[in-house]
């Protein structure tokens, strides 16, 4: 093999793609230097704007032939540095592949291209009384290809499951250009679940060029509850009580005092009580009889934990208001500091209160502003550190605090990530969860699929390539992130 040759790759691709869809200008390339995480950057060697499956296949095969690393990319809203190109890897941007190919109401499924925006699919499905359940906070911008790569979650995954549960089948281009089909229209698999392996593989096993996704019926009725508490611990205990009662709410979300204050001072104001230490947002869905059952369970659990206030909302306007605060929480934190580091750890539910207390202590130790918004039902924490990435000393403290928080989650019986993925951010912490030999089993798998290590190199596993800069990436970035998550 000739070894890496970007020039030869360019020559090959120029025969396939219009010149306007091969970005080589350094200024334009730098727009792709990061994702939704405000801590890492790397400028790609080039960016390919791909619009159909044939182009993706050709691009991957060409990259493989010329040994040029590549990074599949959707909207770039990920929060673990997964879409940051290392070693001047080329970006394969599939946001142009945004067709919903088919919606089949009888089979309750849709076939889509990877560039379809999450919320666009949900809206299209609503015409048939259906919906796409996974709803990451970035659902207005993030693409389903990215959701598949990261196995994204969202508040309503508590009841309905993560992205992987909703992916029935995939058409995939492996890193050497081999085409393969994974899963089936019914979701059943014959033999190993290759579909399940691919979902959440963070772009290291190739690119999905088409997905068949499950759609579920829109609920007959939805009721949203908001309870406020005088302590975070009480709100966490209320969550455990709700689950133990047999209720099956769609979502169980907690916001802490600092987040409430930021939300209430922002355009996302939702009417949360600002004197509370925590608010618990619960959503019940189902038939009217189920809703009444859920209501009784939720009310009793919150009352038993001494809820200060309890509010129920049935109509869309009132429910939207209650959710506005939760969905706008990350954007609202922009009022506290110019940058926000959103962590993503998981702990057993019973450990929530204790771990959050210890997280607060870590914040104090490193003199950082730390707030919490989290998927309490899943034990999926999102400690948020507000900081100024232009200050290298502060950034160092942020990274150290983040590492300590992840250690804390693992020590409590949890794990490094519930929905954001490992990416660059947590790759060096994988040793907290896995032994060297266990990691070797996984890297052997990756090497079997991608022996040249070309597909999104340097991600997920420790010891990857490290040509990445940490910290501030110049003007413009903050605005871009705000657009994505706000």
């Amino acid at each position: 093999m000739p070894g890496r040759s970007d020039a030869a790759l360019f020559k090959t691709l120029a025969r396939i793609l219009p010149r306007t869809r091969i970005i080589t200008d350094s200024g334009e390339r730098s727009l792709y230097d990061t994702d939704g995480l405000a801590l890492y950057r790397g400028v790609p060697g080039a960016v390919l704007l791909l619009e159909n499956a044939e182009e993706v296949i050709a691009a991957v095969r060409a990259c493989h032939h010329h040994e040029v690393p590549f990074v599949p990319r959707g909207a770039g809203t990920g929060l673990s540095g997964g879409a940051v190109p290392l070693d001047e890897a080329w970006i394969l941007d599939v946001t142009g592949m945004d067709r919903i190919i088919e919606i089949d109401p009888l089979e309750s499924l849709a076939r889509i291209e990877p560039g379809v925006v999450n919320l666009d699919l949900d809206r299209a499905a609503s015409d048939y009384g259906l919906r796409y359940a996974p709803d990451p906070s970035s659902q207005r911008a993030c693409t389903l290809g990215g959701n598949i790569a990261e196995n994204s979650g969202g508040p309503h995954c508590f009841r309905h499951g993560m992205t992987t549960r909703h992916i029935l089948a995939l058409e995939v281009v492996l890193p050497d250009g081999t085409l393969t089909s994974l899963g089936s229209r019914s979701g059943a698999t014959a033999g190993p679940d290759e579909r399940g392996l691919f979902v959440g593989s963070e772009g290291t096993l190739g690119i999905a060029i088409e997905a068949t996704v499950a759609l579920i019926r829109r609920p007959e009725q939805v009721r949203t509850f908001l309870a406020s508490f005088s302590s975070l611990a009480a709100s966490c205990r209320a969550v455990s009580r709700i689950i133990a009662s047999g209720a099956r709410p769609a979502a169980l979300e907690i916001l802490d005092r600092l987040t409430i204050a930021a939300v209430e001072a922002s355009v996302f104001r939702a009417g949360y009580p600002t004197d509370a230490e925590a608010v618990l947002l619960v959503e019940g869905e189902g038939s009217p009889a189920e809703i009444e059952e859920e209501t009784a369970h939720v009310r009793a659990a919150c009352s038993a934990e001494g809820a200060l206030t309890f509010e129920e909302a049935d109509d869309l306007e009132a429910r939207t208001r209650l959710w506005r605060g939760r969905k706008g929480a990350f954007g609202a934190m922009g009022r506290v500091a110019r940058d926000l580091y959103v962590l993503d750890g998981v702990v057993p539910r019973r450990a929530l209160a204790d771990v959050i207390e210890k997280i607060a202590a870590i914040g104090k130790k490193y003199e950082l502003i730390l707030s919490n918004v989290f998927h309490a039902g899943d034990g999926n924490l999102h400690p948020n550190i507000s900081f100024d990435a232009r200050d290298p000393e502060q950034t160092t403290r942020v990274l150290a605090a983040g590492a300590e928080i992840l250690e804390l989650c693992v020590a409590a019986g949890g794990t490094l990530s519930g929905e954001h993925g490992i990416g660059i951010e947590k790759r060096d912490h994988m040793g907290l969860v896995f032994t060297e030999l266990e990691l070797e089993t996984q890297t052997r798998l990756r090497d079997a699929i991608d022996p040249r290590g070309l597909s999104n190199p340097g991600k997920v596993f420790p010891g990857g390539r490290s040509c990445v800069e940490a910290g501030h990436r110049g003007p413009g970035h903050a605005a871009r992130v705000e657009r994505i998550i706000g």
Binding site: R165, S186, A190, P192, A289, V460
Partner: protein, 342 residues
Amino acid sequence: MSVETATKSIALIKRVLSQSGGPTGPFMPAGLGTRSAPPPPGVEPLTLTALSGVEDLDRDELVLTALAGTPVDRVAQEAAAVGLVLCPLIPLGTGGTLGGLYASGSESPCAPVEGHLRDAVLGVEGLTGSGAPIKSGGRVVKNVTGYDLTRFLCGSRGALAVITRLHWRLRLLPTDSIEVVIDCPATDVGARLRALRALPDPTAVRIDLNAGRTRVRALIEGGRPSASARAEQLKRGLGPGAEILSVPDEQLAPWLAPPAGTREHASVRGWIERIEELGTQSDGVATVFPYIGVGTTSAPPASAPLDAIPFGGEITRRVRSAWDPEGRLWDPHRPVPREVLS
């Protein structure tokens, strides 16, 4: 030759897989033999029934950890004793081990509502064919740390790994199980299924065909008042003739299990056509779970049966080569050696 004596601890299994000399394999990990055929000639069973025990059952977190050779019925009994049930609802009482249930990738008729069996397994530990450790997932419900080997190995039938330990999701025992049924000609099945799609989701849907008559059955679970209310809704939606029946606990397993027959896979639309076709035959018999695409019929299959579908694809082939270069675990695709046949 069985190497059961060597499987009482994970360390011993590792030694069997790693050592040269002694039993050479290829090995087929085996449980109680309820879900797979005996090893083909030339393949040695690696019996795991001695690797047994529920290590932890956490009622608050709704998760249990058990060794792979633990009988499923024992797990179910221990869970039921504290008011819990394994997710998703599967036909129990059929024996077998937890590892066998997982490795066979058994289907749950409740998959559209509750998720597939693979969605209920939170974590897995095991060994590759060369004895290297496998770990994926854990005891928390959300986990995207590393590759999702938990799902990948579900259904791998012992050809990619020896499963040693599983972390499994539990849920509260349903308080009420009822079904809404409607009898109709086979030609009306399509209309009934379309009507169901517009109604509150039942936990599972089953169609029984016998001599041209079909019964569409929708299972509903939940708290008593709400389950009854949903059943009434379904009854109204399915039209005149629909009725509500209770499903006693002892009837739940047979409800979820198809009787013996030719196994077929088809889409919902495919099953509508197939039922119509079988309904024209006087001896047509079928039990179909249309929402998960499977069923059994008395007739020769109209499409390729499940067993004819290749075991995995390109990814499986590559991983198998990397994890087990010496072929210590059996290969579902490998032809039986001539000398064994003779």
